[in-house]
Amino acid sequence: MQMDLRTVSITPLRQTFGHLARRMGADKPASRYVEATMDLQPVENFHFRPTWEPELDIFDPARTRITMKDWYALKDPRQYYYGAWTQARGRMQETAEGDFELVDELGLAAAYPQAGKEEAFKVFLPLRHAAWGSNINKAYVSAYGYGIAISQAACYASMDQLGIAQYVTRLGMAFGDIEALAEAKQAWLDAPEWQELRRYTEDLMVEKDWFEVMVAQDFALEGLLYPLVYERFNDRLNAAHGPVFSMLTRFQREWYAETCKWTDAVLKAAAADNPENKDRLATWIAGWRERAIRALEPIARLAFGADAPVVMEEAVAALNARAVKAGIPL
């Protein structure tokens, strides 16, 4: 008997979902991110208005003063959907855990000079509360943001902050113990240096406009705080006491470098949509930046002493440059 083998090509009837093909203008394969993001926002058949805010629908683009022709233009350049995000964070966490383990195994934290520990307790440890505040504020953006593009990325960022709060805590536990955490909490609640930052964070918890919350928290505040702490303060501790602090803050440094790309892309897309957005973003950034500078100045003094004004100035210049690059002249 003779058998003939022949190749049969079975072409799929369609490459992707209809709504994505219409959006892309062609029936071509879409990335997982696009599939898990575009047009997922519920837009109609809202039977009941929220009792606490009857003038708005439960999902309503009017919850911010920013307007967009297409809310899905606020894309995440990292293309995080749930799977990609958990994998990326899983990898980062594995490395960070490795660092913590190494520090523990070799007794590096115990051998870290006391002066360095004191500085870390004073300047760094209260930031676990700032990270928790950031978690709350980002969760608000996620809850009330419009269009899945922004709300899913904000949700991931919110969860990331919870992770960061935990890593800050674990550094505290490695350097000291539970008392160090209690003292840091007291400092956050009572020490005069921390009150402006606490006020900033807590004021954002009652700010209604979710886009403004994002500008204030993610761009203005964290855009200054992270370079100050995780670059400059880190350099200072390294120079004086060796690189253990760097090892135990690796997650935060990687997270910030990566998250900046997202924040900047969102601002850029919103500013590019219409001139009113651009003006509004410029006003928000300018206003919150001034408040953030005021909130961080006492902490910079705590960290850098007489060098504080120069260090602050450089951080502000870098933030301004980011805004300009996103197409928002200040």
């Binding site: 190749t7 090509s9 394969p29 990335s31 991110y33 350049p77 990292r78 293309q79 995080y80 990326a88």
Partner: protein
């Protein structure tokens, strides 16, 4: 004038690479086959790291494309930024 070409296995990564090639090479002809995709470009085909990274949303090392590579034709010139195939004509 001959075509420089490259063929990849079809998957999530190469979908991004192919999109980047199509964007960067105006004359690109994409030939989709079962489980394989071949791209022909007259004379010179270039793959740019930056374009692929933008499509993928993550850092990309051009050598990663070897994992998905089936075949190429043309003189290969490879740097950190560009992977190009060309004919001297």
């Amino acid at each position: 004038m001959s075509n420089a070409f490259i063929a990849f296995q079809k998957n999530e990564d190469t979908r991004c690479i192919v999109e980047a090639i199509v964007d960067d090479n105006p004359g690109a002809m994409v030939n989709e086959q079962p489980a394989m995709v071949k791209i022909d470009v007259p004379n010179r085909l270039v793959i740019k790291r930056a374009s692929v990274e933008e499509k993928m949303g993550r850092p990309f090392d051009l050598q990663e494309l070897q994992v998905h590579l089936i075949t190429i034709s043309g003189h290969l010139d490879e740097t950190d930024e560009e992977f190009s195939l060309s004919w001297n004509s």
